[in-house]
Amino acid sequence: MTTETLCGDFYTHCFQAEQDKEHEGRLIINMGPQHPSTHGVLRVIVEMEGEYISRAEPVIGYLHRMHEKMGEIKTYHQYMPNMGRVDYLHALAWNWAYIGAVEKLCQIEVPRRAEFIRVITCEMNRICSHLVWWGAYLLDLGAFTPIMYSFDDREQAVDLLQMITGSRLTYCYYRFGGVRTDINDAFIAGTRDFCKLMKSRLPMYKDLVTDNYILRKRCEEIGVLPLEMARRYGATGPVLRGSGQKYDVRRAEPYSVYPELDFEIPAFPEGDAMARYRVRVAEMEQSVRIIEQSLNMLPQGDFMAPKSPKRIKPPKGDVYFAVEGARGKIGVYIISDGSSTPYRLKLRSPSYSNLSLFAELAKGTLLADAVSILGSLDLVIPEIDR
């Protein structure tokens, strides 16, 4: 063996060892873990054949915090703040997944007003998440201006969420049996204004970016993900819907008051990066619709179940609860042994499954397109690593 094989770490060695004999001379490079287009600390090892990727392997775990172990140590109440930190862009969906799972386990009733508040805030947060993705993705592709607009809009939404949750990013707002604080008139008025604003901004986004010729060239027919492959990998969320499957947990496994709300599930059959892009933009539109409807339907009443338990001691058993996050199906699986801490707590994060298909998807693409593909998967590394 030459000294060459001694370079790199464990993963590089494994990657090298899997190299075909006839391709031995091919260049192996590391993209990341501090590559700006990997949104955090994702590392991808790629084997290049000229400008084309012949093999790729994502290496993750740089942000691993073992949330699942923490879940076994902390009480049900104490684990709540962890949920805001799994996926910082759509923290409220994770809040909801966990709270919902425990509520299901303990059969806690949630007042209707609280359900609507949850829907409103969760959808607001979804818009925030998509806006960040939108800006960051375009930044990956080399367009600097859009992120300025998207952060401007996101700022409005974050200000509104701050008004009721007190935080701006890592929310810890939902509680067993309701939400922490009620929403006020200022929030409702502000949210209505925000919906109006978004409705005027989305056409602008279309003019500025979606119709842009350069963007289309960077996205169309790039990273085509067939539906069959998406299913094989368990991809969910916009990645799956970009392959034409209308699957959304809000409709497939209805929770909360979503069945009463009228919204569509955007899906585009092309399966390329552009389709995923379109799904997310269309989803923002739908979220605005959901928020407006929920504001109109918002009932009076409690925002917290009056009999919500101060200490949670669920009965023995297991529960799986899934919600639709901005990146796909978020699942929380809890096995309770009847004590005040879970026996086992499993977090199913959508980006994890979505990233696992990258190795297959990136095969044979240009390195520059791999950046576009990675961006179009909308990865949030803390959520992948948990």
Partner: protein
């Protein structure tokens, strides 16, 4: 692709560019939306939850209402609160009965660097002695400086208020 197609593509490209530039141009004349931070600050900090602090008491206006029950310490997921209790003997004891012990809050040590601002301590306090502060623009060079005694902080705040009056 033939030549005609190429030309059509190019025109489409230029057109989309012009539309985009149009948007940018329009926004160029809109008022500025950013705040130049150290020179100016945003005005909505009143809704922000900063670190945890003891609130001036309703029953005890010179200090906090805290009854030293320890609920906040037990409920904190990150273990950032520590109680220091002063145990006093009851003043003017009833001579027949055994003198009662009174627990008094000496210090409530709070380590902001561990706090996740979840609000468990605040919600669980039986006398709502704790609350979120609006102390937002706070930066320190030393990690130890953000570990503080909430009782002392409250005292300082109350004194400052008195002086201002």
């Amino acid at each position: 692709m033939n030549l005609l197609g190429e030309i059509r593509e190019a025109i489409k490209g230029f057109y989309s560019l012009a539309v985009g530039m149009g948007v940018t141009g329009k926004y160029f004349f809109r008022p500025e939306v950013t705040v130049h931070y150290p020179r100016k600050t945003v005005d909505n900090v009143s809704t922000y939850s900063g670190h945890v602090e003891l609130q001036p008491g309703k029953k005890n206006p010179d200090g906090a209402d805290c009854i030293v029950c320890g609920t906040c310490v037990r409920n904190c997921p990150s273990g950032c609160l520590t109680l220091e209790v002063l145990e006093l003997m009851e003043e003017n004891p009833d001579l027949e009965k055994k003198p009662k012990k009174i627990k008094k809050l000496k210090a409530l040590i709070y380590d902001y660097s561990y706090c996740s601002l979840c609000g468990q301590c605040i919600e669980n306090c039986p006398v709502t002695a704790l609350g979120f502060s609006q102390h937002v623009y706070w930066a320190e060079f030393d990690r130890k400086a953000i570990k503080m005694d909430l009782v002392a902080r409250l005292k300082d705040q109350l004194n400052a208020k008195k002086e201002a009056m």
